[in-house]
Symmetry: C2
Subunit: 236 residues, 2 copies
DNA sequence: GGTTCTAAGATTGTAGACAATATCGCGGCT
DNA sequence: AGCCGCGATATTGTCTACAATCTTAGAACC
């Protein structure tokens, strides 16, 4: 069941890559390795030996190789020429860099959504907003985390901005591990939900610049929180 | 000479991929195909048949295949499962999308540069600014275009922001063809040089927000120009 | 005449073997 | 004892052959 949830999350994060249901050994192995990395089954910096993966997933080395190339393109795997592949480790500094880039790109998406919002979409956003507030009040952090991702995905989708979506999908996939560290802190959720509400409010008000500002404020806050957590961990 | 210039531009745009000088057939073929695409030797949407490329570059099909995977990761090649690869065509709409994303990311880079500017860097930027103005006054469009790219690369480098640099490199590689359409218009250069000067001025003033605004203004202007050119071409 | 089935051709996907390269440990030398 | 070179091993890079899949052309049929 946990595996199914992880699968779902990954599929939602990278819809462009291709349906994971079928399409030959190629896509299957790629998806399996990706899931294993995202779920943490393979640790950061762990070497990914083609022969081992080949045996583990019962596919030829050529297939595994193709999968690794693909994942390298997504930024999940690092390939050192003649030295092999390994799980790319994202340091806290890199995670912050990713968030900084997301400010601009996600801000753009939010602005686009605010600009072209239909009434039905507005209703959906209102509902999502209410659900997020409720989940935090009830202390249901996993539900809140789920809604969180849903908001991200919606904004991406409704922006109808393929380029931005691609960039965000790639960045998001890389920083899944760090997202996780924050999402489990109740105090963090209380702050975060207000910021998310502000984003939705700006979108509902059909205010592109306001949405952009709200996204920026939220991500800056996430950066700050990440810095704090990192500092605390360093001293501990 | 034109070929050498194109080569240089590509190498500068994607320094992370690896030195093109050596490193096995792998990198060589990848670079050759990339150059061929960027230079327009292979037209957009043209099919890239592995066997053909294999013969053309005297490498095995596996090597070509790996190269195509790599290029797909860079967004230059489109891979349709079981149907082959082709040169990815960037429509005007997509080019505009790319520019919109660049607003945020390049703005971030410019802000970072403005924030951490050293005196030597400031001197270099001043010189570049003067050179740009001079090249436009003399009507030397190819020189101006070169300085243009130099400014972009410098800002990326000096931002010390690996994530943003990667994203920008990828986006830039895809839109080379459209850049080209604008750079050859003298009227455009006269406007563009003012905007570039404004960006440099903000950086020299060590004003991060100003730099971000200047970048945004410039790229919005580029978008507008691209729309105009596209509209003119459509009616013609 | 048009449509659909079929078969041949073209092209990609997969597999396994071999070559090239890097890594690591051991023995000899200083 | 420490360092350097050298060989053994592990791993990736490359090649060739074969299988699967898609595309296209032609013939049979309605």
């Amino acid at each position: 069941m946990a595996a199914a949830a992880a699968n779902e999350a990954t599929a939602a994060a990278l819809p462009a890559v291709g349906a994971s249901s079928e399409g030959g050994a190629q896509a299957r192995v790629t998806d399996q390795i990706r899931d294993a990395i995202v779920r943490g089954e393979y640790a950061p910096n762990q070497r990914l030996i083609e022969a081992d993966l080949s045996a583990a997933f019962s596919a030829s080395r050529a297939t595994v190789r193709t999968a690794l190339l693909e994942l390298a393109g997504e930024g999940l795997v690092e390939r050192l020429p003649n030295k092999g592949s390994r799980v790319r480790a994202i340091s806290v500094d890199e995670a912050i860099e990713i968030l900084e880039v997301r400010i601009g790109v996600e801000g753009l998406c939010a602005a686009k959504v605010a600009e072209h919002l239909t009434d039905e979409q507005a209703a959906e956003f209102s509902r999502l907003r209410a659900d997020m507030v409720a989940s935090v009040e009830e202390g249901d952090l996993v539900e809140y985390s789920r809604l969180n991702r849903a908001l991200d995905v919606w904004v991406r989708e409704l922006s109808h901005h393929a380029t931005a979506s691609d960039v965000l999908a790639r960045l998001h996939a890389q920083s899944v591990r760090h997202q996780f560290r924050l999402s489990s802190r109740p105090a963090r959720a209380k702050v975060s939900v207000l910021e998310h509400a502000a984003i939705i409010d700006a979108i509902l008000a059909r205010d592109p610049e306001g949405a952009e500002r709200a996204v920026r404020a939220h991500l800056l806050s996430v950066i700050e929180a990440l810095r704090e957590v990192a500092a605390r961990e360093a001293t501990a």
